[in-house]
Every structure is written in structure tokens, then in C-alpha cells.
Amino acid sequence: MAVTVGVVVFPGTNCEYDVVQAIDGLGGQGQLLWHGDVGLSRVDAVVLPGGFAHGDYLRPGALARFSPIMDAVTEFARAGGPVVGICNGFQVLTEAGLLPGALQKNGRLRFLCQPTPLQVTSTASVLTGLATVGDELMIPINHFSGSYVCDEQTRHELTEGNRVVLRYLDNPNGSVDDIAGIANEAGNVVGLMPHPERASSALLGSEDGLILLRSLLAAALPVAAV
């Protein structure tokens, strides 16, 4: 049976179909979920895709955090379910307190939209389980508020806990420690600014995002088998 990945749609989300297509292409089954729903239907993993949830009013992710579905997403995450936030989804996860730190405006106040070289720095997460530490991936970023910031203690915990899963090779936005993606302590909740679904076919210029999405599907399997 195909692994079902719920892809949450907030008003203003715009990457949901790209994620569904990439998941379907790998043999999974992407299923759109509306932010106003109070529960998750039977899904094996959840993706919060990119876009501008609630128009990014106030701060990116600040209002999405209060969308009805977020209670169910939080519960799913606490129970160990794989949850991945891409770009705006990463911002939502930090605002919701599912991941530490925050995403600040880019260092030079530029909207950045470009293929970006990354390095896998930990495989202890649902998004990098099939990758190898040191792998270099070319994946696009597309954001204005992507500069990761956190306090010293969080930085220490992320580093010591092997929770920085992806780093920029050429830090484009001023993120602390070149951080492009992090995981929670258990490794089942991951946020990243780059868009793996936009690097899912040679036609798009890169297939480097596939290893990440394959990892997510693989991580979701044990849950599906229960």
C-alpha cells in the first residue's frame, strides 16, 4: 500500500501541488489537507509546504500556527509521526514551537530565488535517513525570511544533538552556522528552507531533492505498517 503524505493547504500556500506531484512520482500518495480541518485523516506523514500562509501577515507562520489543523499536526508530531516543513512550512513549525529558533529576514534584505548548494550534515532525521553525511545537493531556495536564528543554548543543543540536518555551502541569507534545515530531538520533525520538490526531476534542473523525499517515504513506512 502506498504511503500517504498529507500536504496541508493554508490560504496562500502555493507549493502544495508540486509536493504532491513529487511524492506521487516516488510511489507515495500525496493528499491535500485543508488548514480549517480539525483532525488529520489517515496519513503516514505530514508536509507543510511552501507559500505565504495567511498572506504572511504579521510574520511568516504567525497566523498559520493558529489554524485549526495545527492541533492535530502537533499531536501527530508528538506521537512520533513524520512532519516536514518546507520553507514557509519551516516558518510555521518554528512559530508553532515544534522546532526551536526563528526565521528572520534575509541578511541583505533580498528575496532569494536560486539553486543553492547544500551539504547533508546529519542523517538522524526523517528527511535525511537515506542520505549520507557529506552528500552535496543542489536544491532551490525561494524566500525573503530564511535567515535562521536561535539563542546560544539552542545552537549548542542542535549541534551536540546532531540535529542540523542540512547546511548551506555558500550561506546566502545569513543563517546562524549556515543552517538550512534542522530536526527536533527525536528526528521526526524537520524544517528546511530549500524546496526539495523543486529539485525532483532532471527537467527542473536537479533531482537532488529526491533523496530527501524518498527518506520521508521510507520513514513513514513503519507507521503505515502498524
Partner: protein, 85 residues
């Protein structure tokens, strides 16, 4: 009672403020000398119904901390003023 609340949100000290820095860099070109430490922020105003000023302060502070500011990177200040009935 009804109170007028004004909440100002700024980035915490030590958090890079690219907007403030950009404004500061632009000042000399406009002829403004002797201006330093520019920080950009946002201001919100709203009215609160509460039994007294203390209760209004509690409510407005919670609103500021849970929604208007992200305490990870921002801090807020609150001013309250009683409105005539």
C-alpha cells in the same frame, strides 16, 4: 472599563536588524549626521475591555507575547490608557 493599548515590537538586542541597518546606512546620503543605533520595529494599537487596568495589562501582555511578537527574536513594550466611558 475600556483601555487603549499600544504595543511596540522590536527585535531583541543582539539579533541582527537588517532593516534598521539599511536605514542607518542611508542616513548620511540624506544629510542626517550623528544618528546611530537605528532599530526598526512595529506598532500595534487596539482597545481592551477589562475590569481594571491590571486585568487589561494581563490580557494585552498575553496577546503581545502569544501573537504580536515572537519572543524568540522579539521583545514588546505595552502602554495602556483608560478611555472615557
Amino acid at each position: 472599563m475600556r483601555f487603549q493599548a499600544r504595543v511596540e515590537v522590536h527585535l531583541r538586542d543582539g539579533i541582527a536588524d537588517p532593516e534598521g541597518a539599511t536605514i542607518e546606512r542611508a542616513l548620511p546620503a540624506l544629510g542626517f549626521d550623528g544618528v546611530a543605533h537605528v532599530r526598526a520595529g512595529r506598532s500595534f494599537s487596539f482597545e481592551v475591555d477589562a475590569a481594571d487596568e491590571g486585568a487589561a495589562r494581563v490580557k494585552a501582555t498575553e496577546l503581545a507575547d502569544r501573537l504580536l511578537a515572537n519572543p524568540v527574536i522579539e521583545q514588546s513594550t505595552l502602554e495602556l490608557q483608560a478611555l472615557g466611558s
